[in-house]
Amino acid sequence: MARVLILVAALVPLFGQPIDYSLFDKLAEKAKESAVVNLGPEQLTLLAGLQPKEGGKELAELARTLKGIQVRSFEFDAPGLYDPAAVRAFGEKIKAGGAWNALVSVKEKDGFTEILIRKGADGKADGLLILAAEPKELTLVHIDGVGDLAALARLGGLAGIPQLAATGAAKKKEAPRKAPEKQEE
């Protein structure tokens, strides 16, 4: 099922301009299932209080580095309940602002995935945005404060947080190198 994951990044500056997520907020009403995460810097610093048996220092350091995590994940009953062109335009608008660039951009007939990186004033990457649109799902993940997936991968395994898969930084899943077969009649 396509999931609409929308990152709520209303507080994230885009060279001073906040990102407008009202397009995605409206879609929440049409979704069959949704998952929302809104974590600001104050909440993230609380992570340091978990004091796991291992990796406490690393967790505290990451908690200081991360400035915000916002996730919106929407799953719809049927295709056509959101306009992929509008979502694509949203991504283009973010890139047009100048601060964000596409690290990965995969376009297909029935969807697309983009991973955007934001560069801060000091030239270092300090924001990561993943936008994935499929016919019945829309996904947005926005991580503020870090500019690559390695930081998120480092969280995996600390304090019971699962490993980030599919990046090579965590456990590898062996899969045959062939396109999925169309087996259904």
Binding site: L149, I161, L164
Partner: protein, 117 residues
């Protein structure tokens, strides 16, 4: 039993439930951030509460409650991050599948030059 009934019997026998791996329940509960001792205070917390009450009086109790609240809040944050990682993993796995089909091995974990696929 006729032929089909025999065959269905074999199917039922072939697909009996299998035993889940050792520790699966514990791993699931850890990922979900659920303590198995629901409703019961861990020993160290009970000990801390006793010491706070005996040695620190009301102030100690208040500090202990604050600590409990911070721990609960931290746990909620942990669960939200766990959800983020789970959703990100799923999204990236699908993206990697698409990239693999066009010859790209994996999404770069570290920042890389920007490329359009």
């Amino acid at each position: 039993m006729n032929g089909m009934e025999k065959f269905e019997h074999e199917l039922r026998e072939s697909f009996r439930r299998v035993e889940p791996p050792q520790g699966l329940e514990r791993r699931i509960l850890e990922r979900a951030g659920v303590s198995r001792r629901r409703g019961r205070m861990p020993r160290w917390m009970a000990a801390a509460a006793s010491i706070a009450i005996a040695g620190g009086g009301l102030l100690g109790v208040m500090r202990w409650h604050e600590q409990q609240m911070r721990l609960r809040q931290a746990e909620q944050v942990r669960q939200q991050i766990a959800l983020t990682v789970e959703i990100t993993s799923r999204t990236l796995a699908r993206a990697e599948g698409r990239l693999r089909s066009i010859g790209v091995k994996q999404i770069p974990v570290q920042e890389a030059s920007w490329r359009e696929y």
